[in-house]
C-alpha cells in the first residue's frame, strides 16, 4: 500500500513536471546573447575560439573560462562574472594598450592577403594596389600581420584624442583603497 501510494503520487508529480517542461521550453540560449553583447567584437580569436559568438556560447555553457577575452580586459570579465554569478578571475594576459594596424604603403605589394584575413573588412585595396587600413574600423586584432608576405603592417598605438580624454580616479587614499578592494576582489 505504501509503495503503491508513494509510487502513484510520484507518477502524478512526474506527469505534471513533464507537461511543465514542454510548456516552459526555451529556444536558444539567452545567456549567450547577453554575453555576446558584452564582448568587444574584435573577432580576434585570442580566446581560442574562432570569433566572439562561439566564445560567448562556450562561456554560457560553462565550457570556457570567463577570463579569456584579452581585448575586453578586466571590465568585460567582471561584467560576465556578474552575469554568470561566479567569482571574477584574474586575466592572465597583460592589459593590452589599444592598438591599430597600419600599412607602410611604399612596401605593400598589393597581394590582398591581409584583406582576406581582416575579420571586420577594415582594409581596402585592389590587387596590385596599395592597401590602406581604415583606422576607424580597425579593431587591432593583429590577424593581418601574419598573412603579409612582406611584413609591411605595423601595430601602432591608437592616437589619444582630447575629446576622448577622461578624468582618472581622484588620487586620494580612499579611492586607492576602493581600487585595491576591486583588485583583490578579482584575485580571489
Amino acid at each position: 500500500m505504501a509503495i503503491l501510494s508513494l509510487g502513484g503520487f510520484a507518477l502524478v508529480a512526474g506527469i505534471i513536471l513533464a507537461i511543465a517542461t514542454r510548456a516552459f521550453h526555451i529556444e536558444g540560449d539567452p545567456i549567450a546573447d547577453k554575453i555576446e553583447d558584452m564582448l568587444p567584437q574584435t573577432q580576434c580569436g585570442q580566446c581560442g575560439y574562432p570569433g566572439c559568438r562561439p566564445y560567448a556560447e562556450a562561456v554560457a555553457s560553462e565550457v570556457a573560462e570567463i577570463n579569456n577575452c584579452v581585448p575586453g580586459g578586466e571590465r568585460t570579465m567582471i561584467a560576465i562574472a556578474d552575469l554568470m554569478g561566479v567569482e571574477p578571475k584574474a586575466i592572465e594576459a597583460e592589459e593590452a594598450i589599444p592598438m591599430i594596424a597600419f600599412v607602410r604603403e611604399d612596401e605593400c605589394i598589393g597581394c590582398t592577403l591581409c584583406i582576406k584575413a581582416c575579420p571586420v573588412d577594415a582594409i581596402v585595396g585592389a590587387p596590385k594596389q596599395y592597401h590602406t587600413i581604415i583606422t576607424d574600423h580597425c579593431t587591432g586584432c593583429t590577424l593581418c600581420i601574419d598573412p603579409c608576405p612582406v611584413d609591411c603592417i605595423d601595430m601602432l598605438q591608437k592616437p589619444e584624442l582630447i575629446e576622448h580624454w577622461s578624468w582618472p580616479l581622484p588620487d586620494t587614499q580612499r579611492s586607492r583603497i576602493g581600487h585595491q578592494r576591486r583588485e583583490s576582489h578579482q584575485h580571489v
Binding site: 578624468w167 582618472p168 588620487d171
Partner: protein, 351 residues
C-alpha cells in the same frame, strides 16, 4: 596631489570632527542633568565609557595596521558619551566596559570603521547588553532630588562602590534604592490587567517631572527638556535636519493619540509616550546618527515614521517596556533599501 584634482577649488570648512563636536555640545545639557541626578556615578560612567571607546578604537586600528588618527576625530568619544547616557546608573563598571567594546569593535570597526557601520554602534551595544544581562540593564537607581532616595550618590565612596561591585553590595533593601521607570511600571501593570490611568496614578506620575527629568531611567534619557535643547541646537546648526526627529515624534504622538482616545484604559496618552524612556534621545540623537540613517529627505521621513510605528508597537504590545532602541536598529537594517527607493526626483525629470 594637486596634479589631478577637479573643481571645486573651495571648501566650506566643515569636517567630521566639527560635526562630532557639535553633537557633543548638543549633548551637554543632558550630560549635566545626568550628573545632577546620579552624581559621581554618572561621572564615573562617562569617564569609563569615553575612555574605553577611544581605547578600543585605538586598539582595533593598531591591530588592523591602519593609521590611528581617526581615534581623535571625536566619533569614538561620542559613542562613549552615548553609551554612558543610555546605561542605567546602577550598571557596574564591567557592563559599561563591555558595552563600549561591543559598540566600537562589533558595531563599527569590523565594518571598516567610521562611515561604514550599518547599525548605530551605541544602540547595538545597548541591545546586546539588554539581552545578555537583562536584570542589570533594568535595575534603575532612584535619582537624587526625587524624594525617598536611600542613596547619596553625591558621596564619591558610595558611588564608587556601586560602580565596582554593583548595587547589591550596598546594605539596605534593593526596593528602597531602585524603582521602575514609568514605561516599565505601565508595562507591568498592563500584564496584570491594571488600566493605564490607574497605573500612572499609583506611580505618582506627573508630566512636569517627566519633562524635567526627575524620574527613573537611563542616565541621559530622563530629561526631555535637556534633550530638546540639544536637539534644537543641532537643528539650528544644520547638523541634522528636521525630517527624522519630527516624523519620528509625530508618528508616536499620533498613534498614541488615536489609540488612547479609542481606549484610554489600555493605551497610554501621547505626552506620556513622548516624554518617557529613550524616545527623545533616540529621536534627536540616535535615529539622526548620520552613518546609520538614510541620506535623502524623503527617506529620512520614511525612516522616522518607521521608527515611530515600531517604537509605539513594541512599547504597547511587545514584551519589552521600551522599544525605541529596537525600533531604531530595526529601521537601520532597512536604510540601504530606503535610500535606494526614496531618491528625490531629479531636476527636469518626471518620476
Amino acid at each position: 596631489m594637486l596634479i589631478h584634482i577637479s573643481s571645486p577649488h573651495m571648501h566650506g570648512g566643515n569636517s567630521i570632527r566639527i560635526t562630532m563636536l557639535t553633537v557633543m555640545i548638543a549633548l551637554l545639557p543632558a550630560t549635566i542633568v545626568s550628573v545632577y541626578l546620579f552624581g559621581w556615578l554618572a561621572v564615573l560612567h562617562l569617564c569609563l565609557c569615553i575612555g574605553a571607546c577611544m581605547g578600543s578604537e585605538w586598539l582595533a586600528l593598531r591591530l588592523m595596521g591602519r593609521p590611528t588618527t581617526p581615534v581623535l576625530d571625536g566619533s569614538a568619544a561620542l559613542t562613549g558619551l552615548f553609551i554612558a547616557l543610555i546605561l542605567p546608573a546602577a550598571a557596574p563598571w564591567w557592563i559599561a566596559l563591555l558595552g563600549s567594546i561591543f559598540a566600537i569593535i562589533l558595531g563599527k570597526q569590523v565594518y571598516g570603521g567610521i562611515g561604514y557601520n550599518p547599525f548605530n554602534p551605541a544602540l547595538s551595544a545597548r541591545i546586546i547588553l539588554l539581552i545578555s544581562f537583562p536584570l542589570m540593564m533594568t535595575t534603575w537607581v532612584v535619582p537624587m532630588h526625587l524624594g525617598g532616595s536611600a542613596l547619596n550618590l553625591y558621596d564619591f565612596n558610595t558611588s564608587l562602590q556601586i560602580f565596582i561591585h554593583g548595587i547589591q553590595s550596598i546594605p539596605g533593601h534593593l526596593d528602597a534604592m531602585s524603582m521602575a521607570t514609568p514605561l516599565g511600571h505601565v508595562k507591568t501593570a498592563a500584564t496584570q490587567g491594571i488600566p493605564v490611568i490607574d497605573a500612572l496614578k499609583s506611580y505618582d506620575y506627573n508630566l512636569l517631572d517627566a519633562f524635567l527629568g526627575s524620574e527613573a531611567g537611563s542616565m541621559g534619557e530622563t530629561s526631555a527638556l535637556a534633550l530638546l535643547i540639544g536637539g534644537i541646537y543641532l537643528l539650528a546648526r544644520h547638523t541634522i535636519t528636521w525630517h527624522i526627529p519630527f516624523s519620528y515624534l509625530i508618528t508616536v504622538a499620533v498613534l498614541a493619540l488615536i489609540f488612547s482616545s479609542i481606549d484610554p484604559n489600555q493605551y497610554a496618552p501621547p505626552l506620556f509616550h513622548l516624554l518617557a524612556g529613550g524616545l527623545m534621545l533616540c529621536a534627536f540623537f540616535m535615529a539622526t546618527d548620520p552613518v546609520s540613517s538614510p541620506v535623502t529627505p524623503l527617506g529620512q521621513i520614511v525612516f522616522g515614521v518607521g521608527c515611530g510605528v515600531l517604537t509605539w508597537c513594541i512599547r504597547t504590545w511587545g514584551g519589552y517596556p521600551e522599544g525605541a532602541m529596537f525600533a531604531v536598529v530595526l529601521m537601520n537594517m532597512a536604510v540601504p533599501l530606503i535610500d535606494h527607493y526614496c531618491r528625490p526626483r531629479p531636476y527636469g525629470r518626471k518620476t
